[in-house]
């Protein structure tokens, strides 16, 4: 049986802009992904949920600024937990200049306003880490 790709989609609790992330959640489900959708207050919560749910992909949505510390804490927290097979991507309002810094941190893609859901689905299918077959 082929493994279903499991995605954690998450946005900050205090970010009112959840329209894009919730839309993506539905499109991901339509594409056959398993989707967990949560709000987070601090990056530790993302890591805890990702480990508990054993996800392949973490998508962090941010449309109200303040995304850089979240990604920094998330990436260093994942490294500290020796998680190296999870694909982390971003979405929402993240300026290009920040996206370039994120690429250096190991966040290879940011899906901003106007990006199609299909492009995110395709990207995940292409880049999700091949995990050892169970």
């Amino acid at each position: 049986m082929a493994n279903r790709i499991k995605v954690l989609l998450t946005k900050p609790t205090h970010d009112a802009h959840d329209r894009g992330a919730r839309y993506l959640a539905r499109k991901f489900r339509d594409a056959g992904f398993e989707v967990v959708f949560t709000n987070f207050l601090v990056a530790e919560e993302i890591i805890a949920t990702a480990l508990q749910e054993d996800v392949d992909v973490i998508g962090v949505s941010s449309s109200a600024g303040g995304h850089m510390p979240v990604f920094e804490e998330l990436m260093s927290g994942l490294a500290a937990a020796s998680v190296d097979d999870v694909l982390v991507i971003g979405g929402g309002i993240i300026p290009d200049v920040d996206a370039r810094v994120l690429a250096g941190l190991g966040v290879p893609a940011v899906f901003g306003p106007g990006a199609s859901a299909e492009s995110a689905v395709e990207f995940i299918k292409e880049h999700v880490r091949q995990r050892s077959a169970v």
Partner: protein, 573 residues
């Protein structure tokens, strides 16, 4: 509305038009766009390609602005003596940063009613979450999307030198409204200004958790908190506008024009009912309610939405609650031009969109306006972009001559027919919600969230498939674009905000603080256990004001409320 002769001539004219239209349609049948054969408003209401006198509903009667049911406006004079107020949203960085933007826009001519000054101030994300800047989750969010104001001491930094009696301050808060109002009152007292002299608004937006995905108080507790604030202000702050109906948030979340006004009317019924249970008279609270509505892309639907809302609010409040004060029936509107329809691509094009939105809002007869800045889909607006957004209002006010005539679109066959259609559709939505037991029930069972989400998805499908065209996004795209100059909040803001809150905690009178917080704990505990009909003795807000007097911060006051009332994600995923 029309006599027999006119109606008969109207039918003949329509028949002639129809024959011509079909002849042309047949010739171009293979390339007919949807809007040619099956036109719809952006809300999905069926519309016609041309309107005639007999399309105006029988129920439409000649009506005067300032007369019940107020379809044409609250007052006989619309903009002739008093223009709409410029109310740009302001707020970023430290309170001093926000103040400099307030002063900049004031210098550029931002003006309220009769020359008075309105300040429409938004709090930052840390405050919205009910936290202080030294909380671990605050990093990167301090002074972002709003101002870093967390105490009465920060209020002093924000308003230094301004006479609070002469200004009108809108506090754009989410669920931290009680903390922010308490701090504003505490600061005013230090200036020798009594609560009764203050003018402004609190949003009281607990109802937004039905369609906005931020963490929130449980719906029933939120409704009680809203009533508590209304009750206190109606007794102690007669000039204060207590509650704002956040229709804009419905549109922002992807809802339609029909949902925007229908949900706000449904919540209005729920809120007035709750106020009555708490012993308040509708005519004592309704005159201090206001509304925030979006003005989005479907020009005529957005104008008619406002006209329809004025009519159904007035008729509903009169019929259901027997109000007699005209102000209880008025829909006082702050327009926020839609941010959701702006594009990150070719951002200058947003100036054209916001101009059309602002023009529509003026046609609809709004009372106050925020025009989104063209760079708002990218970041906090720059000073130049914020000034240009103000100029949009000023050009319409000063140069177009539309302010000479009240409700200038009235009598258009299309506008009257569409106004009626929107009113009917919104009332149907209200009936659906009432059948479920009211707004809070429909919130709790997820129904409101799901209908808004369906609309949002429908919009997205239309955009993705190219049926809903957006210039620069799915048509007339520009390829590689130059990187725009974006506004950035100074990185020192975080350090200073954290240092300030720590110093405040060190320097305040610890004994007075402890006493006040103990009383707040007791009041919150009692409040959490109270039924709606046990409210009205106003214990919670005064306790919060006492805490603010003792320099309690937003995080500290909200911490108490969260602990006793509950706090968490608003919806199941």
């Amino acid at each position: 509305m029309f006599d027999e002769e006119t109606l008969s001539a109207s039918q003949q004219a329509k028949a002639r038009w129809q024959a011509d239209y079909e002849r042309i349609a047949k010739r171009f049948a293979d390339q007919a766009p949807t809007q040619a054969l099956n036109p719809q408003s952006h809300s999905g209401l069926p519309i016609k390609n041309c309107y005639f006198p007999h399309d105006v509903p029988d129920s439409t009667r000649p009506e005067a602005p300032g007369s019940y049911p107020y379809t044409r406006g609250n007052l006989a004079t619309q903009y002739q003596f008093m223009n709409w107020a410029n109310q740009p949203v302001i707020g970023y960085g430290l309170p001093e940063d926000t103040r400099s933007r307030m002063d900049l826009l004031a210098e550029q001519g931002m003006v309220g009613y009769f020359g008075s000054r309105f300040y429409n101030l938004v709090y930052d994300l840390v405050s919205h979450e009910g936290l202080d800047p030294d909380h671990p989750a605050a990093r990167g969010r301090i002074g972002q999307c709003g101002m870093a104001v967390y105490s009465a001491a920060d209020m002093a930094r924000l308003f230094d030198g301004l006479d609070l009696r002469k200004i009108n301050v809108v506090h754009i808060t989410y669920y931290q409204v009680i903390a922010a109002l308490a701090q504003y009152i505490a600061y005013a007292e230090r200036q020798g200004v009594a609560p009764a002299e203050l003018r402004g608004n609190t949003m009281n937006w607990y109802h937004q958790s039905a369609y906005v995905g931020m963490s929130a108080f449980p719906p029933e507790q939120g409704l009680k908190l809203a009533v508590e604030l209304i009750s206190y202000c109606s007794k102690h702050m007669p000039k204060w506008n207590t509650t704002n109906f956040f229709g804009y948030g419905v549109e922002e979340a992807g809802g339609t024009a029909v949902q925007e006004i229908g949900l706000m009317l449904a919540f209005g019924i729920e809120l007035v009912r709750a106020c009555q249970q708490a012993g308040l008279r509708p005519d004592d609270v309704l005159p201090r309610f206001g509304f925030q509505f979006a003005q989005a892309n479907d020009f005529f639907e957005e104008v008619c939405k406002i006209r329809a809302m004025r009519r159904i609010w007035a008729t509903t409040m009169k019929d259901r609650f027997g109000v007699t004060d005209p102000r209880s029936m008025h829909v006082r509107i702050h327009t926020h031009t839609s941010g959701a329809v702006l594009t990150a691509q070719q951002p200058l094009v947003n100036l054209i969109r916001t101009t059309l939105h602002a023009f529509g809002a003026a046609m609809a007869g709004t009372q106050a306006m925020e025009v989104s800045a063209y760079d708002e889909a990218l970041a906090i607006p720059t000073g130049d972009a914020a000034t240009l957004a103000l100029r949009v209002q000023q050009v319409i006010q000063e140069e177009t001559n539309i302010t000479a005539v009240s409700d200038p679109l009235a009598g258009s066959y299309y506008v009257e027919a569409l106004t009626d259609q929107l009113a009917d559709a919104a009332l149907n939505l209200v009936a659906d919600i009432e059948a479920q037991g009211g707004y809070v029930r429909a919130q709790r069972n997820g129904w409101i969230r799901s209908i808004v989400e369906e609309s949002s998805e429908r919009w997205r499908e239309l955009v993705d498939s190219g049926q809903r065209r957006i210039v620069g996004l799915n048509c007339y795209t520009a390829g590689e674009e130059p990187e725009p100059q974006l506004f950035k909040v100074d990185s020192e803001v975080e350090r200073i905000a954290v240092e300030r809150v720590r110093r405040l905690r060190d320097e305040r009178d610890a004994a007075a603080f402890d006493r006040a917080m103990e009383s707040l704990e007791l009041a919150a505990k009692e409040f959490a256990a109270s039924r709606m009909d046990q409210l009205g003795d106003d214990k919670l807000l005064p306790a919060a004001i006492d805490a603010a007097r003792a320099d309690a911060t937003t995080g500290e006051i909200m911490g108490v409320l969260k602990r006793h009332l509950g706090w968490g994600p608003p919806h199941e995923s």
